[in-house]
Amino acid sequence: AQSVTQPDARVTVSEGASLQLRCKYSYSGTPYLFWYVQYPRQGLQLLLKYYSGDPVVQGVNGFEAEFIKSNSSFHLRKASVHWSDSAVYFCAVSASTGNYKYVFGAGTRLKVIA
């Protein structure tokens, strides 16, 4: 079975600073990995996804993530954050074949301050 750990419940960064949100997964097979963002009282929006190939994937709004198999990690990065990036970010994992189940991490609440 899959599992996801997002070790930072809350992160505060200054506007214009760089950002890294951590995600570690557990899955014995080949994972598919995802990052989503949730704004207050809204559904989740997909930021980026990794299926295979280049371990660095680019997403929307300047976000990127790197799949490091040896570390079972899929950290989200952004070079320069904007106040509008304040939201909750979820990392998720699924198997690459078969079980139709997606496991989400607990989420990281990002606050961008002036």
Binding site: Q45, G98, Y100, K101, Y102, F104, G105, G107
Partner: protein, 112 residues
């Protein structure tokens, strides 16, 4: 382009009353469909998935049931609500197995 619509946007219901939430996907045939539940301030828990009309698989038992009466429609229901059913219910779809689910705007449920 594909669109996903959930209804209602919000519900306030009494303990013990029935519930029916709906989700419709337009612009995509034979999508995989999912229901998730999110406690306030919490993570998402997958409840059900369906890969074809008439077939629904349960992932977590929360005294809820789901049905897929049409290719583009997914229904979540229960005959008797519990206080613990309160939260945010999200429907999602994916084009193929295990690919990224795309979410609707959700239904906020308060059980009193």
């Amino acid at each position: 382009a594909q669109t996903i619509h959930q209804w209602p946007v919000a519900e306030i219901k009494a303990v013990g009353s029935p519930l029916s939430l709906g989700c419709t996907i337009k612009g995509k045939s034979s999508p995989n469909l999912y229901w998730y539940w999110q406690a306030t301030g919490g993570t998402l828990q997958q409840l059900f998935y369906s890969i074809t009309v008439g077939q629904v698989e349960s992932v977590v038992q929360l005294n809820l049931s789901a049905s897929r009466p049409k290719d583009d429609q997914f229904i979540l229901s229960t005959e008797k609500l519990l206080l613990s059913h309160s939260g945010f219910y999200l429907c999602a779809w994916s084009p193929r197995n295990n690919q990224a689910p795309l979410f609707g705007e959700g239904t906020r449920l308060s059980v009193l």
